[in-house]
């Protein structure tokens, strides 16, 4: 059993009917969920929807969580699946509406990044990450932004460690190339 005692206690409390325990879990993980979704999807609206969907799944399905993995891995798996589904939906929309990906920036939503310096870096990184294929992007982000080991990424994505390492190598090389070419 994988125990993070805080998470364990909070889940137990929530399942006993303590709503505040759920709120605490949300406050603990909401930023991680948002940022992962944001980096995967490159869009605030989509990331926001993913956050809400993940919270809904947590609320309804925490009673099925058996602590065989960490709570974060469990949440991550949900987040990952939802993000991939959203990417597929967007791709389908592109095919059927002949529209390109959203390139209208909504200035309101850029304000979700708190400090000004990080805003610019964030936008540039978002642009770079959007140029990576989905499979490369996901492992690159999980390794670098979420600090997950390959074994855990394998558990989340269902892909072998070897395949993940290969994708990571290609992603890292591509990111270096893009920055070199001043596309950063």
């Amino acid at each position: 059993m994988n125990l993070n005692s805080d998470d364990y206690e909070l889940v137990r409390e929530f399942l006993s009917g303590n709503q505040q325990a759920f709120n605490q879990l949300v406050r603990k993980y909401q930023e991680k969920i948002y940022w992962h979704a944001r980096r995967m999807l490159g869009d605030h609206d989509d990331a926001h929807e993913i956050v809400q969907e993940v919270l809904m799944v947590m609320y309804n399905k925490l009673n099925t969580f058996n602590f065989s993995s960490s709570l974060y891995t469990w949440i991550f798996r949900i987040m990952h699946t939802r993000s991939l589904n959203q990417i597929k939906k967007r791709s389908l929309k592109k095919i059927f509406t002949f529209s390109s990906t959203k390139d209208i920036e909504n200035p309101v939503y850029e304000n979700v990044v708190q400090d000004l310096e990080n805003k610019e870096t964030f936008k540039k990184m978002e642009r770079l990450l959007s140029k990576l294929p989905t499979k490369q992007r996901e492992v690159f982000m999980m390794r670098n932004f979420d600090d997950l080991p390959y074994e855990e990424i394998s558990e989340i994505t269902g892909k072998s460690v070897g395949a993940l390492k290969a994708n990571y190598f290609h992603a890292f090389s591509k990111m270096k190339e893009l920055m070199e070419k001043n596309e950063y």
Binding site: N23, V113, M175, E180, Y184
Partner: protein, 199 residues
Amino acid sequence: MNIEERIIKYLENELTSEEKFAFEKELENNSDLKDELNKYLSVKAEIEKLKSAKLDSDYSNSILPEFYSRLPRGRKETLRKGLSYAFGIMLIFIISIAVLRIFFNSQIDSNTLDEFTQLLDNNQKIELLENINADTEVFNLISEKELVNLLESDLEINYEAVEAYDISYNEMINDLSDKEIEIVYEEILNKNILEEVSL
């Protein structure tokens, strides 16, 4: 293993201790290797900057309230709704019973009135008719004599019952509402007018 692979493995701590030692040794003398490594390190540096990025607090504080607003109605609400429906149905049922009871009671009242009129003598019948609203059109259609004749022929009076129960006519009249009196009168009168007309 090419240079890129070595660099990435070095940065990911995937080289064995011997491979790492050899790589670091080579770095000291190989400027191309050093340049390549620095490019990868730049990517890592930008990532590190972003890892400290925080969500705006207004947005962050809005996530939970929005979640709860999207939550489907809880079990308590569902139960409350169910109880409201049940109460509504029960209320309709009670009202229906009350309406039906009033309807059937009015039927019973008619029968009671029939029985009552049978207890009246001629004078009582006339007095009864006089108590009916003088403005009714039906009442004005026939004379007092005709009324008496009609009542005599139509109503049967059970004197024994009247005496036995010591029924006070005035009390009976007072107990009847105007509507009840009108029903009695019309029942008696209309029956006989019709017979007169048919003759």
